[in-house]
């Protein structure tokens, strides 16, 4: 069981520099290859520019989540504006809840992504499920 005293801990990514290459690599990986004329990232690209916040949580030695038994349970996003090459996006993730349901532990992580002018880009909520061995 993860210690609930870590609720409230937050993690911030370095500014993520969005490039054409990074958007195209993501589009190729998921097979979403349509081009709009202007290159706009698929909205779920939020997982790419925000990934380091998740990574910091998963590798936080003090919180020590049992990542070997962790799966993604739910995900929510709201998108305030489209993402294009040249954007610099910083994401803050905050551990907002740890609870138990039967033989599972539920971990809720809330994310907020902002651009170089500190305007909102997207928000996210991830629910992780840790299956107890």
């Amino acid at each position: 069981m993860t210690d609930p005293r870590w609720v409230g801990r937050s993690y911030e990514t370095a500014p993520y520099q969005v490039t054409q290459q990074s958007i195209r690599d993501y589009m190729t990986a998921v097979g979403d290859l349509r081009e709009d004329g202007e290159l706009i990232a698929p909205p779920t690209y939020a997982m790419v520019y925000g990934f380091d916040a998740y990574w910091q949580l998963w590798t936080d030695q003090e919180v020590a989540l049992d990542v070997a038994h962790l799966v993604h349970g739910e995900q929510r996003f709201t998108f305030q504006r489209p993402v294009r090459p040249g954007d610099q996006i910083r994401t803050t993730g905050r551990l907002i809840a740890i609870s138990n349901r039967g033989d599972m532990e539920l971990v809720t992580f809330e994310l907020s992504a902002r651009d170089a002018e500190d305007r909102p880009v997207s928000d996210g909520t991830a629910l992780f499920i840790i299956r107890k061995p």
Binding site: G31, P42, G73
Partner: protein, 150 residues
């Protein structure tokens, strides 16, 4: 590369089904997604590790499934910038060899805010839901005044 044109808000009706999208998930695609997203958790990449974690083998990232749902939505909308909200619950595992189908329907449409709500679900080749409680919302730009009848 396909090109796209923006969906006409006036032609959307409540209850309307979106064109479905089927994707065949492979080990290569999961690897490619791990590279592109940065998520190299070994449950997605290492068969032995995945089994030791109590899984049937490597599993696809939940966010790959959500990316498929995202594509179904934006293929229909014709403009990636219209999507304002997307959420879902990862109800089942997706493994290499699975064929997953995204489907959705218009739950409501608001002419004042020009917002459309869509319910969506992703099922595998056995009809089992791998993503459920899917909800998306799109917002269309204000109608141009020059489209008014003379």
């Amino acid at each position: 590369m396909k090109t796209m044109s923006t969906l006409d808000f006036e032609r959307i009706s409540t209850g309307q089904a979106l064109p479905s999208l089927t994707k065949h998930v492979t080990v290569d695609q999961i690897r490619q997604y791990a590279e592109a997203s940065g998520d190299r958790n070994p449950i997605h990449l290492d068969e032995t590790f995945a089994r030791s974690a109590g899984l049937p083998g490597v599993i696809a990232h939940g966010m790959l499934t959500m990316a498929f749902a995202n594509q179904m939505l934006t293929d229909w909308l014709g403009d990636r910038s219209l999507l304002k909200r997307l959420q879902g619950r990862f109800a089942g595992m997706v493994v290499p060899g699975d064929a997953v189908t995204c489907s959705g329907s218009v739950a409501s449409k608001d002419d004042e805010t020009r917002r459309v709500m869509i319910n969506l679900v992703v099922t595998n080749q056995r009809g089992e839901r791998v993503l459920n409680k899917g909800v998306a919302e799109a917002e269309f730009p204000p109608q141009r005044s020059n489209t008014h009848a003379a």
